[in-house]
Subunit: 337 residues, 2 copies
């Protein structure tokens, strides 16, 4: 059962409930978490509710569910995971509060000090790119970037079933020595880890491919792209912004001439499929990687389709056995002695 | 006269010469700089050559023109500016070497310690966004980000003729307190500068608008966007990569059905205009801001059209009187005592 925060997100609870139903029909087991009274008469047939009286608003501090609202839905979903009553927690609510609850309630996997937010974006070659950190940790020293690399590698192996994922460091150039101070240090640590693991025949060690630029990553030169949360957040939002600007420019140019408008009408199917492939509704949100449980934070503006994506994303992590595999890999690579 | 490095860029000298001719016909005064013997018989009618025997290759160290090739074309263009024989220097060659030469030969404007690379990108609202640093300085402390803000502001006033440019700090959220450590510190310094200048009635002080996210900047919430060279480079290359991926996805979806292919054929004019607006050929390259002269570094893969853009970009800076205005503004804001 995946515990879904019914009161998280700008369009809660209506779109959340609709998304839960969508995912339920696709075979994803969901349990709604939220104020049962407020949900009365609204819960779709076949879904059940776990009561949590309180609700955290977007403008409250991230610590609210921990300090002031112990019975809030955004906290309860993680407690259900901790108590083995749910296999994963999903919320489209306050992302800071979600991270604080996940970390406090579930705790980090031993060896991880700063769990990152990760997501999977489509590449030009048709493959998938694991991108992390998306914003959980804005200031990262080199050892934290190494944690991200190990976590991203474990995710790609467990969930994407890639044998030996190519792990790259996001940088401003591919040559050794490029990157800012933290990236240059992380390069050395990851290169050393990679070389050391190559020394053990028969193992599938870390496949570090060095510095990777954004264009090269999008073209398919790596499977996992590591950066600090500041840069990752800027990169993700730049992609969103560029898609928006590009779509706008294209529309303007198409609407400039009558015959183009006719052609555009003929093209509307292709355009719809294009928008589907380029909206973030299909990505499913961000996974907080490195805590003892599957924790997914969806987009605050999520509609039913996006909520269903987030639920499927969480479900795929559960089915792949992500957390036990993370613990094993992180344990062998990051826990000393 | 704008001094153009005839032997800088992957397609030099052919595309460089063709670009020089294009700009020359558009009324931009150009002088070619390079090995006169190698150029013999190739120089378009109406253009002259200043001889520089040597050429710096892309795989040589950035210091090569300063240490080993004193008569290289990439160095000579800046010497012509220094000696008042040219008004600006343009190269599509080794960008590290270009920056080293510009800084060494022209020297920084007093008050500037780390000249940034700046460019102007189109916004969704039809306006223009000055983005800096694009990669000249990967590790920047807060005071360096403040220099970038003052330089970007001066550029927007002088060249784009914006009265009181809105200057933003690139961050992962708009609220105060967002950003990494350097950004948070720069926020405070810029806010203080902005408040202090507001105190002098009649002046048009720095208009600092705080933290800005990429999407908001692209939509038009600021005129100048400040970040360190690592983040700026990642952002610029993410835009390039996203445009490429988006165009590819759209093509795939269009080619999926026969009727769509017909529609696409009808749309080819709109598509061509779209590609023109979204390729970087029209942007003109990057300006090294804060040295005593106009120094433009074009794209290494520049074709004739892109070379002409870079020349027009440099020309617009000269005509606007950029450097004297920079000196005044930087002098009053950054030079202590």
């Amino acid at each position: 059962m995946i515990a879904l925060d019914a009161f998280g997100g700008d369009r809660a609870p209506e779109e959340i409930l609709a998304g839960a139903l969508l995912a339920h029909r696709q075979g994803v087991p969901v349990v709604l978490v939220g104020n049962a009274e407020k949900l009365r008469g609204k819960v779709p047939h076949g879904l059940t509710v776990v009561h949590a009286a309180e609700q955290v608003q977007m403008d409250e501090p991230a610590t609210t569910p921990l300090r002031k609202k112990p019975d809030s839905s955004i906290r309860r979903i993680f407690e259900l995971v901790r108590d083995k009553q749910a296999t994963a927690a999903v919320t489209c609510g306050h992302s800071g509060a979600a991270m604080a609850c996940a970390l406090h309630v579930l705790g980090p996997v031993p060896g991880v000090t700063r769990p990152p937010l990760a997501t999977v974006v489509p590449r030009r070659d048709g493959g998938q790119l694991v991108l992390l950190d998306l914003g959980a940790n804005v200031d990262c020293k080199a050892d934290v970037l190494v944690q991200f690399a190990v976590l991203g590698d474990a995710y790609a192996r467990a969930v994407l079933r890639i044998d030996r994922p190519r792990v790259g460091l996001l940088a401003n150039g591919e040559e050794r020595g490029k990157g800012n101070e933290q990236v240059r240090q992380a390069w050395q640590l990851l290169e050393a880890m990679s070389v050391q693991e190559r020394g053990h025949p028969g193992t599938t060690g870390l496949h570090f491919v060095g510095n990777i630029e954004p264009l090269q990553a999008m073209r398919g030169e790596c499977d996992v792209l590591v950066c600090d949360g500041f840069v990752g957040n800027v990169m993700l939002k730049t992609v969103e912004g560029t898609v928006e600007v590009v779509a706008r420019i294209l529309k303007e140019e198409i609407l400039r001439r009558g015959s183009d408008r006719f052609a555009a009408w003929l093209l509307s199917g292709a355009w719809r499929r294009f928008r589907q492939r380029t909206t973030y509704d299909n990505i499913g949100g961000a996974l907080l990687l490195g805590v003892n449980g599957v924790a997914v934070v969806g987009h605050g503006r999520a509609d039913a389709r996006a909520v269903a994506s987030a639920l499927r994303f969480a479900h795929s992590c559960v089915q792949a056995g992500l957390v036990p595999q993370l613990r094993t890999q992180v344990g062998s690579r990051l826990v000393k002695g």
